[in-house]
Symmetry: C2
Subunit: 215 residues, 2 copies
């Protein structure tokens, strides 16, 4: 309980639960999630991942090389598996790269990706605090959803519940835990949890997408 | 009509009109805008301006020094007047710096400010395209609203309709017009107009504010 990662999660306990046990997640697990909503989510998520990686690389240039090189090694060594699952799902849902590109960002996705990018230019600690809810939360979500009887959602969850994915989280949290707690990091961490919740919500609403963005 | 600024506006004519003649604007002019909505707007706008200035400075480090130094000189030489009008309005509405700070960003304001910041790290041309709709549009809006019989909205409009403010726009558009048109700049410009429209809309709705942000 002295580690910053635990403290951040504990500080935002209720919000965290609303994120990892969101209706969207519960519906994946019990198989009642409408495929249209999942399709919407997957397209937005694909756009998200690109800026996330860009932000990770940008932030890495500001961090201690022992930590950043470990994280980049792990992320890129385990990237094929993620891309493979992702491609499988896109295929299953008939989503092409072209469609992802021409679909605009939802407002929340635009705000969230630029939030990550913003902190990636401010500092390594700030970026980690902004990034952790996404990476860490998805592991818990994967573990929860994996028991679903829906094959598509199961496939999705298997990746995030895997040991390989877990090994990413361990390294990211190690790096986060080398940092001293400060209130600002809590604010950044909390904002990201809020974005994750709004991200699910926009997918459940099939929000009209609006922002083109240039990557 | 060969200038990029005219082309950008012409390309997005209908959207531009929806921005500069938005209900919020029309209501300021005819004096029917609820003060609560203006108050909401003013707080969000105050938060916006801080990141806008930060982004301008950041982008200026990437631009040609003859252009950027001209713009920075003009912006900072005419800044006192803007701050004076702004302080007068904050005072009138009983808004303190403390309240501005502790009020969260609306989702659209967060997305918009990070959009500006994002392009300020990409390039000078990209930043100008993202920034122009705000600066340029407010001049037109000021000219339109200034005939209002409401003293508060008149005071607000007087600043944006002033020759001093106009001189900012001239220099910014000069700089923009030294750049060759490309489709990506149009996308960025259009996204910013969309943000401006959403900004008015969120103020009319008194949107719940959510994102804390760290500046």
């Amino acid at each position: 309980m002295n580690m910053i990662s635990d403290k951040l999660k504990e500080n935002n306990k209720e919000l965290w639960e609303r994120y990892v046990k969101h209706d969207f997640v519960v519906k994946m697990r019990n198989g009642t999630l409408n495929l249209e909503n999942f399709r919407y989510y997957l397209i937005q998520d694909s756009k998200y991942v690109k800026i996330m990686l860009k932000s990770l690389i940008k932030a890495s240039s500001l961090g201690p090389i022992e930590q950043t090189s470990k994280i980049l090694t792990k992320i890129f060594q385990t990237r094929d598996k993620g891309v493979e699952v992702h491609s499988f799902l896109l295929d299953k849902l008939g989503i092409t790269e072209k469609e992802i590109e021409k679909t605009g960002y939802s407002l929340v996705n635009y705000a969230y990706t630029r939030h990550l990018y913003y902190y990636s230019t401010i500092g390594w600690a700030e970026f980690l605090a902004a990034w952790a809810p996404c990476m860490w939360g998805y592991y818990e979500i994967g573990k929860y959803v994996i028991d679903t009887s829906n094959n598509i959602y199961k496939k999705w969850a298997e990746f995030y519940a895997s040991d390989e994915y877990k090994s990413r989280i361990d390294i990211i949290l190690d790096s986060l835990n080398s940092i001293d707690y400060k209130e600002e990091l809590n604010t950044i961490f909390r904002d990201s949890i809020n974005f994750e919740i709004m991200f699910w919500e926009s997918a459940l609403r099939n929000d009209e997408t609006k922002i083109s963005g240039i990557e």
